[in-house]
């Protein structure tokens, strides 16, 4: 499919690199903790968080279930406001359309505000190939662009860069030595990017939400670069994932309540802009021409699939990254593609529709469910990760040794007698390696485990071996349930059945 980022490394290799990067790990921990705490404070302050979540989820479910309708309404209304709307089934098509617009405009330079969708297209490289300068204007994106890297967090793309590194990158760009002081570095970026905004031919943005009823596209930003990009250049191109739709302005209130709070703990980002078409005839600023490119790129494959349709509800807040204990240790680049963290572990194999190459990203999770708990629209990401693993197995992309191991599992666990026999065999077998109830050897099949912790030994007598004696001892005073216990059990069973019938 779309990606040109073929990983030449496995997720294990990439994790290994991240785990050995002390600064990265500390920076990611610090930032995600901060965002997580802010989110908690903001949701507590708001109150009724669960009711809000449920409402946001319902709006997203409803919209996706009627996506063709709302999308066509949006297109109709955006066109009425003067927008050129384009449709791209693949990333290549979106790139092609972009190139044609750039050609039509004779563009020499493009300024971009943060857009994860545009990362799917690798549009910057493609533009540079035809001699169009593409500048990222979000401070974090600008940093990683100068470093020649990709974002490692949806919200804080340069989470992995320290001040010294930023100073070096900016100094090179400035042609003079800049000290590693945030105000000076930010001041340099402001001045430098100001020039770029004013000279750019095209402004490119993503789209946080698109409103069907009004044909507006909505952008959230704190720095103001999304406003610059959509105000200053003569032409605007907006990339929009086809699922970014919400029905109405009323629904935007709910999304605006959830997105900033979940992302950074803000009540609202500094700027929320609803842009409806190019500038009106009597207006003196804003783009004269506006293009919206609606991108599928694997999204429609999630539709109609009961296990994955809900992933399209995502509002790209990054809360699942901040909650994820795996992301906390390995950061974003470990995931290998555009999106990272739990949402990335689902989107990467699903949007690319490639289990062979990308299925393994789903293993970067202990399935703890923190992502689901953090998600403002309640996407069951932890369940989806299991479904992806199953898909990988079904398509035959798991190693033969693993398949054998689970054949063994099946054989043993299909009968309690076999299970018992194998446990007994194990008890005999472990005698040479177990000491004081623990196995410490770093070789053999337990290697992955014992490299980081001891393994326990099998007990001398299993529970099932002891049950007869234990049971006889426990129920020595008769074989009956205590009367008050019986009453409570009956009561609990009644409640359970009532609940079941509701």
């Amino acid at each position: 499919m779309s990606t040109t980022f073929n990983p030449t490394t496995t997720i294990k290799d990439r994790a290994h690199i991240s785990l050995n990067d002390e600064f990265l790990r500390n920076a990611v921990k610090y930032t995600t903790e901060k965002l997580r705490t802010s989110k908690k404070l903001a949701s507590d302050e708001l109150g009724n968080w669960e009711e809000w979540r449920e409402r946001a989820r319902q709006i997203r479910l409803h919209t996706i279930a009627h996506l063709d309708y709302y999308l066509s309404e949006f297109v109709k209304n955006a066109r009425a406001a003067g927008v050129h709307v384009h449709f791209a089934t693949t990333a290549q098509e979106a790139v092609h359309i972009t190139m044609r617009i750039a050609e039509a405009k004779g563009a020499k330079s493009v300024v971009k505000s943060k857009s994860m969708v545009s990362e799917e297209l690798h549009i910057n490289h493609r533009l540079e190939e035809i001699g169009v300068e593409a500048i990222e204007t979000d401070l974090g994106e600008y940093i990683i662009q100068l470093a020649g890297e990709t974002p490692s967090h949806i919200i804080i793309p340069a989470i992995h860069k320290n001040k010294q590194q930023v100073a070096e990158l900016f100094s090179e760009e400035a042609g003079e030595v800049l000290p590693p002081e945030t105000p000076i570095l930010a001041g340099f970026a402001r001045a430098k990017l100001r020039e770029k905004f004013l000279e750019a031919d095209i402004g490119m943005t993503g789209c946080n939400f698109a409103i069907a009823e009004t044909g507006s596209m909505v952008l959230f930003s704190n720095e103001g670069n999304a406003r610059m990009v959509s105000t200053v250049p003569k032409t605007q191109i907006t990339y929009m994932g086809m699922e970014r739709i919400i029905p109405s302005l009323d629904d935007l209130e709910v999304m605006a309540t959830m997105l900033p709070r979940s992302a950074t703990g803000q009540k609202l980002t500094v700027y929320m802009s609803a842009i409806t078409g190019p500038r009106r005839q009597e207006d003196s600023d804003g783009p004269e021409e506006m293009h919206i490119i609606i991108l599928d790129n694997g999204r429609s494959s999630q539709l109609g699939d009961p296990e994955f349709q809900e992933v399209l509800n995502c509002i790209r807040c990054g809360a699942c990254l901040n909650a994820c204990p795996v992301y906390r240790h390995v950061g974003g680049h470990t995931y290998g593609w555009v999106y990272s963290g739990p949402i990335g572990a689902v989107l990467t194999p699903r949007l690319n529709q490639d289990m062979e190459k990308w299925g393994e990203v789903s293993y970067a999770s202990s399935l703890c469910g923190a992502c689901h708990e953090a998600c403002p629209v309640k996407i069951p990401l932890h369940d989806m990760l299991v479904y992806i693993r199953r898909q990988k197995v079904e398509e035959g992309y798991t190693p033969a040794s693993e398949r054998m191991a689970f054949k063994g599992f099946k054989y043993i666990m299909s009968s309690h007698r076999r299970f018992k026999r194998i446990v007994n065999l194990g008890k005999t077998g472990q005698k040479i390696i177990a000491r004081d109830g623990a196995i410490t050897s770093k070789i053999g099949p337990l290697k992955g485990w014992t490299e980081h912790r001891y393994a326990p030994a099998l007990a001398d007598e299993s529970f099932r071996d002891t049950w007869d004696n234990l049971s006889a001892e426990l129920h020595v005073n008769g074989n009956k349930m205590a009367p008050d216990v019986l009453k409570r059990l009956q009561e609990a069973k009644r409640r359970r059945e009532e609940k079941h019938h509701e």
């Binding site: 994790a15 204990p325 240790h329 202990s366 199953r390 446990v423 299993s462 234990l470 129920h475």
Partner: protein, 244 residues
């Protein structure tokens, strides 16, 4: 009214003392217990790795074992969560088994959940004069919504000095096959979890899942740390014994 124990393969083979402690506590409360021996494993290791066919084979032993039970109690939030949350999807293509799976998923309880929410017991009269910290396992809290039950039981233990575990709700890095498959990431996670346990200066780490406790305990021993790792049932049972 039939109450049965689902011991879980891990407690059965490695931590039988947990099953014993749980059984003794429940029997003390007047519950008559059964142990249907055809049970093996809930199938979670295979299920989570994507091997659903293999998982189903093992899950069927449980459906058979507990078919005629009214309540099933297990010392693991994770295995209980597997049954409660995933059995209906695991058998979604088999209408007969699906009905059984749905029924089963409604009548299985994790130990503290059963004690507090079904029996209505929050104080079993235990006495445990030690400094204790608690790791709430992910599946118990998130798949089953067990948040207050273990804390209530611990709060009523006499003499206990309870100390909160920093970042308690963060996964310990066990995740079943994750610990082996992504061993380096899992290793980093359990290393941090152990640091947090050590920071509390607790003598005892208590939890409700032997998978997590095997992981954290294994790391504590690997680092030569003396913290005792106990299942909630073990702690309560020892607390009752000590009192006597």
């Amino acid at each position: 009214m039939k109450v049965s124990i689902f011991i879980t393969c891990l407690s059965d083979a490695i931590y039988p003392q947990v099953g014993e402690a749980m059984s003794r506590i429940l029997a003390c409360q007047g519950v008559k217990l059964h142990f249907p021996e055809v049970q093996t494993c809930c199938g979670q290791p295979a299920f989570n790795s994507g091997y659903w066919d293999e998982a189903r084979t093992s899950a069927r032993t449980l459906l058979e074992a507990f078919d005629d039970s009214d309540f099933i109690v297990s010392p693991s939030g994770s295995c209980t969560g597997m049954i409660h949350h995933y059995y209906p999807s695991l058998f979604k293509d088999d209408p007969v088994m699906l009905t059984k799976a749905r029924e089963f998923s409604g009548k299985i309880y994790e130990f503290s959940q059963f004690l507090v929410n079904v029996l209505g017991v929050t104080d079993i009269g235990a006495h445990f004069p030690h400094k204790v910290t608690y790791h709430p396992s992910c599946h118990g809290t998130r798949l089953l919504g067990i948040k207050e039950e273990p804390r209530q039981l611990l709060a009523n233990v006499k003499g206990i000095e309870f100390v909160e575990l920093p970042f308690a709700e963060d996964c310990c890095g066990f995740g079943g096959t994750f610990a082996v498959k992504m061993s380096e990431i899992s290793g980093a996670m359990v290393e941090e979890k152990v640091q947090h346990v050590i920071e509390t200066e607790a003598e005892v780490l208590v939890g409700m899942d032997m998978g997590c406790l095997m992981n954290i305990g294994g790391r504590l021993r690997y680092e030569g740390k003396q913290v005792r790792v106990m299942h909630l049932a073990e702690l309560l049972h020892e607390g009752v014994k000590q009192k006597v």
